[in-house]
Amino acid sequence: MNEVVPASVPVDGLLSVAWLVIVLPLAGAALLLLGGRRTDRWGHLLATGTVVAAFAVALACTLALTERAGRTVSLDLFTFIDTGNLDVTAGLLFDPLSAVFALLITGVGALIHVYSIGYMAHDPGRRRFFAYLNLFVAAMLLLVLGNSYVALYVGWEGVGLASYLLIAFWHTRPAAATAAKKAFLMNRVGDVGLALAIFLMFAQLGTTSYAGVFGSVGLLAGGTVTAIGLLLLLGACGKSGQFPLQAWLPDAMEGPTPVSALIHAATMVTAGVYLIARSAPVYDATPTARTVVLAVGAVTLLIGAIAGCAHDDIKKVLAYSTVSQIGYMFLAVGLGPVGYAAAIAHLLAHGFFKAGLFLGAGSVMHAMDDSVDMRRFGGLARKLPITFVTFGLGYLALIGFPFLSGWWTKDAIIEVALDRGGWSGWVLGGVAVLGAGLTAFYMTRLMLMTFFGRPRWEEGVHPHEAPASMTAPMVLLAFGSVAAGFLLVAAFPLSGWLEPVFGEPEEAAHLVSPLVVSIVVTVVVALGALTAWLFVGRREVPTTAPARVSPVVTAARRGLYADTINESLVMRPGVWLTRALVWLDARGVDGAVNGAAAALGGGSARLGRAQTGFVRSYALGILGGAVLVAGALVAVTA
């Protein structure tokens, strides 16, 4: 295998224990799950501790990595599967890309663990919750740190399991149980794509390690690479809630809010972006697949933004916003080398502000007796000052308020899209700008309905600010929301740090000057926010959703009919097919077996009638038989 990818150097020192990053949270999960009620009192602290420790190790490893030439280390742990031509070594790849992900996962993960200590303080299943969270962190770290597609796949399904467990955490609620199942199944559809991509790599290249695949992917025929690219994309779509597999993500909000923040906003759902960015050499070799990535990103961006405008459930609005923002990231990675760094920067910034927003939403729900209906909120700014400020900063960062995180990272993506040139560049850029406007609309609507206006609270609700263990992470994440964009784009450009992975950042000639882009985007965002104010800020918000609305609003409320389509195209025919097959198996296949048995039994019963019990008829039979045999003998010998 000729290794084009940065040669890995033998590992020594601190980096040789990089596996601790994964093992620590995994051990935490195992201890909590096996320890039973004995760990009830201190289990959550242990779980938080393991993630904090993992963050420390990840940070130390990243610092150690900066010292190394090539900034890439590969760490082989043990032989996982070795038979025939297949040789899968369990190993880690610690390079700038996995490092930033490891930091994001452990960093945001640690904050959300801390937040959960307060959020889940009175839940009888707290230990279980923290065990699952730890399991998630471990699986997610495996996903980003693995050095082969198989390791990625193991982590990939591991986070799917953790996501399933956490969405169904309050499993006595049928809605939560169903949402969890739906999430797992739609993810599995994507997983089929990922699995087939791995099979295809093995069939064509004889290896599944990143180094091996990227080293020789250039030798493959175009069609094969495109197939691999599209199959990987299917996997990415499933995990990241992208079109056409986006319907599970809003339903996943049935899980506890910290879960929504960590898994369904900051980390797991961005795994698809990681997969495509990690597979950059594959996509570099197939413009077709890359164009499909672009299309998926653009379509999802709009779907998410439109659906987000019409929902009244605060978490669902944020979920659709996540769908839409990941659409931006797909759009960026679909643009190729110029977009990778922008996508990862947006991913990190999004990780901060969206996690912050979700935690804020959790704080609001905490205050409002677990209500999520924004029509029954209103006027919370004064009651929940810390939440309001942190949430507000996250909001500004998300819509791209100048000089906050989103402004830096989203504008970068829009610029790259426009730089693509030609009609496709204008279309993609236009979609991205339109998406920014819609984002401003639905987020402003959310802010206005939640924090401003007259209180429309249910009777008996007395909002109160959350405890410090919940507000502290929100404050920290708010800092991230404000500063991350500037740090990642301007101060310490991420594109430079990621150079060993994606190559030298190109200084593209801009077709449209960045300043113009910035101004246009800001104006569109302002327009979106203004429209929202016209709709919900200026007039009274009804406490029940208006029933008579335009078809557009109806469509948006139903998530652009994604569920309807899934149900009518997959679920109902599936149920029908299953019933038909059960009938066929019982009547047809088993019917044939039982029918044969019955025919045999019936036939023998009929033949048995010949046994009359009269000795002399038997004697006649014997005589007839003997004569027949004798006759036959005569005939044969004659």
């Binding site: 969890a180 089929v192 059960v582």
Partner: protein, 569 residues
């Protein structure tokens, strides 16, 4: 150590144990089961010692014993194991003690008008079955294999027919006749082999190693192959020969069902690999596409049927049919990776589905019903039970980290280069696997308490306590569910009828924990570090592959740059 006849011991010890247990008076049930446990543990020890004595890098067949049995027909009592057979012996060694533990408190269904059956017979049949199962995998004489193959039916027939559910007679007879039909067709092929060997070697023989060297005319091969294939396709049910399994699996006592699906049916897939491929290489290659059609059709068809089942034990049986499709796919893809995966699948499926059956049995012991609709919300009452249930389910859907993933992954990745279309269809089956597992899990474990968990306040709606093992479910059922709430969470909704209360369900007892722990540990260990097992079976798989003319090292890949992934034929 190699001088000790380990394999003979592994057959004789449980057989003697069976005889001793059978000789006990019917009233000594407690002693009988203790003896059964002791004997099965002894066999496990023997299996481990056998593995120690086995040298993975050595001869193909080791620990061989051969005694002339019917010299006139060249029949030898010949035993020997390769890595594949040895892994199955280990599986038997592990599963039987677990089954003994799982059946510890089983009681046969009451018989109207007659005294209840004694469980002593159950333990005796179980040990006899173990002895015969060891024999069938250890035999290296085709005739001896056939004898064990058929003899195995007898104890299983009695396990199902005497100790099964309501419809046990029907299931037992169906199982017996269906298997016997296949076995007799195989007998014809066995005799055919003898005739061919007689004409080619001048002296008839049933020895596997001699038969492997025969050069059989391709058309004759096809006929002989068909005979073996039918027997094995019935045993490891491939669609459309599968309908006996759901009946047997549903009616058999849990212990019987575990051994039936976990080990007995593996004789079928083992037979494909041990007999069909090496003895009839040309026929195997020619007929492989048709076998693969059955295999892949089975994966999808049985998975869809599993989704549609309302009976938990039937559901698990159907999942097994789908899994057997994967194993057959791995065997008939003719690559080392896929065949290794298939062998691993045989072991892993026994562990994972065995655990699933056992856990389902524990649920049934608590609720007294096999119907999914009679359950709901168990997870809140018995979290440990729910956890093990979920783990078994996840192993069944081949989640990475569980043992099944390794085998399913190997089968699919190994089959893809030679059989891309079949593999792609089979891969879709993993979505269906997730569907049937999660659907069952959600209906039984999630949601508000339902079904057997609820009784009317006056107790009138209590279900029939005469059901199988119903004595297990919570006697102290006064625990009215307290709505749980999390700080930020919702209140648990109780959709209970107005005057109902929620029964307390006992979580796993100490015995039950002891029963599931070995399987849970194996699922996780083999899921993370399967290489020792792979090293054990690889040489035998490679030998099989070279028997059918596949270069063990050269099945893949196509040279980089070529798009075609043509089949081998």
């Amino acid at each position: 150590m190699t001088d000790v006849p380990w394999l003979v011991l592994m057959i004789v010890v449980p057989a003697v144990g069976a005889a001793v247990v059978a000789a006990l008076p019917a009233a000594r049930e407690a002693l009988a089961r203790q003896l059964a446990l002791a004997v099965s543990l002894l066999v496990l020890l023997l299996a481990v010692l056998t593995t120690v004595a086995f040298d993975p890098g050595g001869e193909r067949f080791q620990l061989t014993t051969s005694v002339a049995w019917i010299p006139d027909f060249g029949v030898d009592f010949a035993l020997g194991v390769d890595g594949i057979a040895l892994s199955m012996l280990l599986l038997i060694g592990v599963l039987v003690p677990v089954v003994v533990g799982a059946s510890w408190r089983d009681t046969p269904l009451p018989r109207p008008g007659r005294p209840a059956r004694s469980m002593t017979a159950f333990w005796a049949w179980l040990l006899l079955l173990e002895s015969l199962m060891v024999g069938v995998f250890a035999a290296t004489d085709v005739f001896l294999f056939y004898v064990f193959f058929e003899a195995m039916l007898v104890p299983m027939y009695f396990l199902i027919g005497s100790f099964g559910g309501e419809n046990r007679q029907y299931a037992a007879v169906k199982f017996f006749l269906y298997s016997l039909l296949g076995g007799l067709v195989m007998l014809a092929s066995v005799i055919g082999l003898y005739v061919v060997s007689n004409s080619q070697l001048g002296e008839g023989t049933f020895a596997f190693d001699a038969l492997r060297q025969l050069e059989i005319d391709p058309n004759v091969q096809k006929l002989l192959f068909a005979g073996f294939f039918l027997a094995f396709a019935i045993k490891a049910p491939l669609v459309p020969f599968h309908t006996w399994l759901p009946d047997s699996g549903a009616e058999a006592p849990i212990g019987g069902a575990v051994l039936l699906v976990g080990v007995l049916d593996k004789v079928g897939t083992f037979g494909f690999l041990r007999y069909c491929l090496p003895l009839f290489p040309d026929a195997s290659r020619d007929l492989a596409p048709w076998v693969l059609v059955l295999a892949v059709a089975g994966i999808i068809y049985a998975a869809l049927l599993a989704v549609g089942q309302s009976d938990m034990k039937r559901l698990v049986s159907y999942t097994s049919i789908a899994h057997f499709g994967f194993i057959a796919l791995g065997i008939f893809a003719f690559t080392t990776e896929a065949a290794t995966g298939a062998v691993l699948y045989m072991v892993n499926h026994g562990i994972a589905t065995g655990l699933l059956f056992i856990v389902v049995g524990m649920v049934i012991a608590r609720g007294g019903s096999r119907q999914i609709r009679d359950y709901g919300g168990l997870a809140a009452k018995a979290p440990l039970l729910a956890g093990v249930f979920l783990l078994a389910g996840l192993a069944s859907l081949a989640l990475p980290g569980t043992n099944s993933f390794v085998s399913e992954f190997l089968v699919l990745i190994g089959a893809f280069p030679t059989r891309p279309v079949f593999t792609i269809i089979a891969t879709v089956g993993i979505v269906l696997a997730a569907l049937y597992v999660l659907l069952m899990y959600q209906r039984v474990m999630h949601g508000p308490p339902r079904g057997v968990l609820l009784v009317d306040e006056d107790g009138a709606g209590d279900h029939d306590p005469a059901d199988h093992g119903a004595g297990d479910h919570g006697a102290g059922g006064g625990a009215t569910a307290v709505p749980e709430r999390g700080a930020g969470g919702a209140t648990a909704v109780l959709e209970a009828p107005a005057r109902a209360r929620v029964l307390a369900v006992r979580d796993l007892s100490g015995r039950e924990i002891a029963v599931v722990t070995p399987l849970v540990a194996l699922i996780l260990v083999l899921g993370v570090y399967p290489q020792p097992l792979i090293d054990l079976v690889s040489p035998a798989v490679e030998a099989t592959m070279s028997d059918i003319g596949v270069d063990p090292g050269g099945s893949t890949p196509a040279a980089p740059g070529s798009t075609g992934t043509g089949g081998t034929d």
